[in-house]
Subunit: 151 residues, 3 copies
Amino acid sequence: MLNPELISLENQVFRCYLGWSAVLVLKIFATAIYTGLMRFFTATFANPEDLMSPKLKVKFDDPNVERVRRAHRNDLENILPFFAIGLLYVLTNPAAFLAINLFRAVGIARIVHTLVYAVVVVPQPSRALAFFVALGATVYMALQVVLSAAF
Amino acid sequence: MLNPELISLENQVFRCYLGWSAVLVLKIFATAIYTGLMRFFTATFANPEDLMSPKLKVKFDDPNVERVRRAHRNDLENILPFFAIGLLYVLTNPAAFLAINLFRAVGIARIVHTLVYAVVVVPQPSRALAFFVALGATVYMALQVVLSAAF
Amino acid sequence: MLNPELISLENQVFRCYLGWSAVLVLKIFATAIYTGLMRFFTATFANPEDLMSPKLKVKFDDPNVERVRRAHRNDLENILPFFAIGLLYVLTNPAAFLAINLFRAVGIARIVHTLVYAVVVVPQPSRALAFFVALGATVYMALQVVLSAAF
């Protein structure tokens, strides 16, 4: 059932995983850059050597910076496990239609999550919905991988 | 020595890596859900749009929520590097008995770590032991991978 | 173009990815150990059960500990996505010379980043340079992977 040939651009499921993983890596880095820009705009620097002017002091509690940092941390908690489990899920040789739509769901939901959390704050439950769509799809993949390992 | 055929459910070492990785992904997400529940129980919300009632204010210092968040962050610091290095270690074609027990050690130690840190607080050195068992096993794998790359 | 045979120690590009990934896993864990040592030296413990003496209280704001924790978190934000995208980049069968030097750039830049951030504080722009070298190399890999998936 598992076959190293699954790891090939010829396999459209792997190709979809590959593409969305790369997009999500770029999305995580976009959030990192956005944190840096927000630090400049609000003059919120966490290290003395980062202060641009002798009048500034280190600051840790700017609400705009902290909001982007929470969105960024949420990415680490959710997208990074997806990178690992998505690849293992491809190796279980799942049905293409289902797998491709799960990858799309994770990719789109995580982009929406960042937009409604850190770019334009949209009232709940928009962020919760984006969070649970991505989480649900990733948990489903993990359960399929557990079953593949067990049987 | 390295062989793509190692990435196959026929290879019991890969199968063990696959199973424990999926279990640990589910464990990380369980901690995420637990953080959310703890936020509800203690009414500790970090974003204005999350407040369930106009009487609530954003709050960042609930000790129960912060404890789960520290356990969660510790997972990111330790389990996510294991996902990467465990796969590469499988590709070095290690002895099955050793590799399987290393994966079990990481999996069980990280579950115990969360339990004694965030669910039922057990006095030290229980958490330190769980931490160092998983760290030691992962460091051993990383050293084996470095040796494989070098020779 | 994609070929599971690329995942082999015979492939010098994969071998280079493998070696630098293992080195960076060890580097992340070194930062973790360094955080622990810094907590001991400054008697800064975040959990009541960690206090070594009844005279101590939990403490969250020691600047030396917080500095190492920021360096550690920055590793999670940058090195962990590299583990995922580096492997996928190897599978796009890149030119060896370029790929090997990109991996070296990421590996060396992230080690320098930790040194100038958390070990010996060096004035800016040293940390920013190390950060952007690694980020730039990883973004390039992600863009190549997106192109491979799309065409």
